[in-house]
């Protein structure tokens, strides 16, 4: 082999061996692809009034960043992400993670009894969720890891709220003309654009296709009716959702979805205007 080269270089490499542990971690701020992403890509901490949601969006996580010191990490975040992180974090939402700054569409609540409140000045918290009643609510998490529809179960446990999120995984196969979900859900409506709001409804299958395919997205618009004058229904040509609501007003509306196994699923929705844009929420009990 290259014995000559070896001999000349042995000394250099022996010296560097002393610094071995730090060699690989000298590059503070490298995007480490080999992070262990936590099972839940976000954390929810509640008190008697509201819940704080912290989302790991894969970009900010100290222990994966190979920085030699916390100070070095804070400097990196400042120069690269333009954010000032305070070393101390205010309770009661004290968490050991770093969450991303709130984006308007990162958490989309599908019901009017779970309000999403943006947070701008607490770095560990992405948004607050304010529950108004117990129940199930579809929530869409628009983040890089773990993106998708979740079923939020809102409960009151003693004096404190509790929200459990269950990822309603969607089948990714493009071999089927249908989209399958792990769990059925009555309705979820995306934020509207120019008065058009894509919506989803998934009904339970009589027999599961697989352990992750127990419900199917309703894709036949003829089975769905909006019983109010200011909501019309049109097909989704891309077949991503069940269809589109076209809204030209606001107020309460009943959506009626004929079920394959008979009967109807009736969902009351609230069409509201936010900053000139329409949103359609599942209505809570009065």
């Amino acid at each position: 082999m290259a014995v000559g080269i070896m001999r000349n270089s042995v000394l250099i490499f022996l010296v560097e061996a002393l610094f071995l542990p730090s060699i690989c971690y000298s590059n503070c701020g490298l995007k480490n692809k080999y992070l262990t992403i936590p099972k839940n890509f976000f954390e929810v901490v509640c008190d008697s009034i509201k819940c704080a949601v912290s989302i790991y969006d894969g970009a900010v996580r100290q222990d994966g960043y190979g920085c030699d010191s916390k100070q070095e990490f804070l400097e990196y975040v400042k120069t690269t992400l333009g954010r000032d992180l305070d070393e101390k974090y205010a309770g009661p939402y004290m968490l050991n993670r770093f969450a991303r700054v709130y984006r308007p569409d990162i958490i989309q609540s599908g019901c009017d009894y779970l309000k999403v409140v943006p947070v701008y000045n607490v770095d560990t918290v992405t948004a607050f969720l304010e529950p108004l009643q117990e129940g199930l609510c579809p929530v869409f998490m628009n983040m890089n890891y773990g993106k998708g529809l979740y079923e939020a179960k809102i409960e009151r446990v003693g004096p404190v709220w509790r929200i459990s999120f269950y990822h309603n995984s969607k089948s990714l196969s493009d071999e089927s003309e249908f989209t399958f979900f792990e769990r059925p859900f009555r309705l979820f409506v995306e934020p509207c654009r120019n008065g058009k709001c894509r919506f989803y409804s998934a009904e339970k299958l009589p027999f599961a296709r697989s352990s992750y395919e127990k419900a199917v997205l309703v894709n036949n618009i003829d089975r769905i009716k909006a019983e109010c004058s200011f909501v019309q229904l049109i097909e989704d040509p891309e077949k991503i959702g069940s269809g589109f609501f076209v809204v030209n007003g606001f107020g309460k509306c009943k959506i009626r979805i004929a079920q394959k196994r008979g009967g109807f699923e009736n969902v009351w929705v609230n069409v509201v205007q936010h900053d000139g844009m329409s949103r359609v929420y599942i209505e809570g009990n009065e």
Binding site: A2, E177, F207
Partner: protein, 435 residues
């Protein structure tokens, strides 16, 4: 000492050097050390392919360089190429003595990501071409996020084939100029799917040759052991696909040759004929598909051990009977149980489209279309200890290629199978081959 030397080399190579620190020597040092090795020492030979031991490309001057797939396709030095998924699969999949010494031989750590030149195609509008990459030196996945990765270059022992780059009857892969066209490999010829115009990859862009692919319009018999797919776009014709025939959703067939995809014609489809036969005072509806006659309904002969779904007589009348594994002699004289190949031939004959096979009614799922040729497969479920899957699926007793009795299942869109069938009951459909 030798081992320590190489281990240290590798460790240093695998760490980034974006930030200089006073304690660390710059990585370029060990790279320049390696550069003095002769070419033979910087390569590993596996079968008929040489693999470069580290990323050494036009764009990268340092062994830890990551790049986009677009850059990766054309980043290998002259005479070398970016290996496709099949070359990678052969390299990482099989054991050979040198592999255990990979780390010592100067190969990068196995916890790195490497591009392949292959891409996955799908029918999704916004995700037509998704590049594939090697993960942890053990598996090949789609890189949905398109994150930059490393490359290793390979070259064939008998030098790169340049024949197909000039011959316009062969093409490397499909491009769609309206949707996301794949990044391309310089000098290769691609086919635009919609216009069938040949494109040449020139300076990382696809340019029209203003010539169309010569498509053979003759009809060909479907080779039933070929891979047939209803995908819209073909992936690159790579090592593992040699001599396999693919069929696009419009029944055009292409074979992967040494030089690229070649059009071989259009799938021959004879008319499907519906007839009736009478056997021992029983009438059967028959559908003839090419040279095979299928009885177009499930058997309904009462034998011990057979049952109706949920033990309801009306189910037997409409859907036939469920039988246990004593299938000897169930079919009428001259007819037999299907084999795996019969199902493959049937399904491929209809372009893997279940619409031609399933019944118009009784399916829970709202299928978009129905083109039942008369086979009228109902989702009549089956029995696996319980009566199950009614309105979603059904299954029949069949034989596999080794003559093992098993169950073939159909869910309206695709076929599957099950070998754990001892105590199960399935339906029976019989067929015979006619000349």
């Amino acid at each position: 000492m030798t081992i320590l030397f190489f281990v240290l080399c590798i460790l240093l190579m695998s760490c980034g050097n974006e930030k200089n620190s006073s304690e660390i020597k710059t990585p370029k040092k060990e790279y320049s050390v390696l550069k003095t090795m002769s070419e033979e020492q910087s390569m590993i030979k596996y079968k008929k392919t040489y693999w470069m031991k580290f990323t050494q490309s036009k764009q990268c001057t340092n062994a830890s360089c990551d790049m986009s797939w677009k850059d990766a396709l054309n980043a290998c030095p002259s005479g070398w190429h970016l290996p496709d998924q099949y070359e990678w699969e052969m390299f990482i999949g099989e054991k050979y003595p040198q592999r255990d010494s990979l780390n010592i031989e100067g190969f990068p750590f196995s916890n790195l990501f490497f591009w392949t030149s292959s891409y996955r195609v799908s029918t999704k509008k916004d995700e037509v071409f998704v590049p594939l990459f090697v993960q942890f030196f053990s598996s090949i996945n789609s890189n949905l996020m398109n994150s930059p990765s490393k490359i290793l270059c390979a070259k064939d022992e008998d030098n790169e084939k340049s024949y197909f780059k000039k011959n316009e009857n062969f093409f490397y892969g499909i491009a769609d100029l309206e949707l996301n066209q794949p990044s391309c490999i310089d000098g290769n010829i691609y086919l635009d799917y919609s216009s069938e115009i040949l494109l040449i990859c020139d300076d990382n862009g696809l340019k029209s040759l203003e010539k169309k692919l010569k498509v053979i319009s003759d009809t060909v018999d479907s080779p039933i052991d070929s891979v047939v797919s209803k995908i819209k776009f073909l992936p690159p014709c790579s090592v593992g696909m040699k001599n396999h025939t693919f069929m696009l959703g419009d029944f055009r067939m292409f074979t992967c040759t040494d030089y690229g995809w070649k059009s071989v014609g259009i799938l021959k489809q004879e008319d499907v004929i519906r007839t009736d036969i009478r056997d021992k005072n029983v009438d059967y509806k028959v559908v003839r598909v090419d040279s095979v006659e299928w009885i177009a309904e499930n058997l309904n002969r009462t034998v011990p051990g057979s049952a109706c779904y949920e033990n309801k007589k009306e189910n037997c009348l409409k859907y036939g009977r469920l039988y246990n594994s004593n299938v000897e002699g169930l079919c009428p004289n001259g007819w037999r149980l299907p084999r795996r190949r019969d199902w493959v031939a049937l399904f491929s004959r209809f372009g893997l489209n279940g619409a031609y096979i399933r019944s118009k009614e009784d399916w829970f799922l709202d299928f978009r279309e129905n083109k039942d040729v008369g086979l009228s497969v109902y989702p009549a479920g089956y029995y696996d200890g319980n009566f199950t899957d009614f309105s979603m699926k059904t299954g029949w007793w069949s034989y596999d290629d080794e003559n093992v009795l098993y169950a073939v299942l159909f869910d309206g869109e695709r076929f599957s199978h099950n070998y754990s069938v001892e105590k199960n009951k399935y339906y029976v459909r019989c067929l015979r081959v006619v000349n």
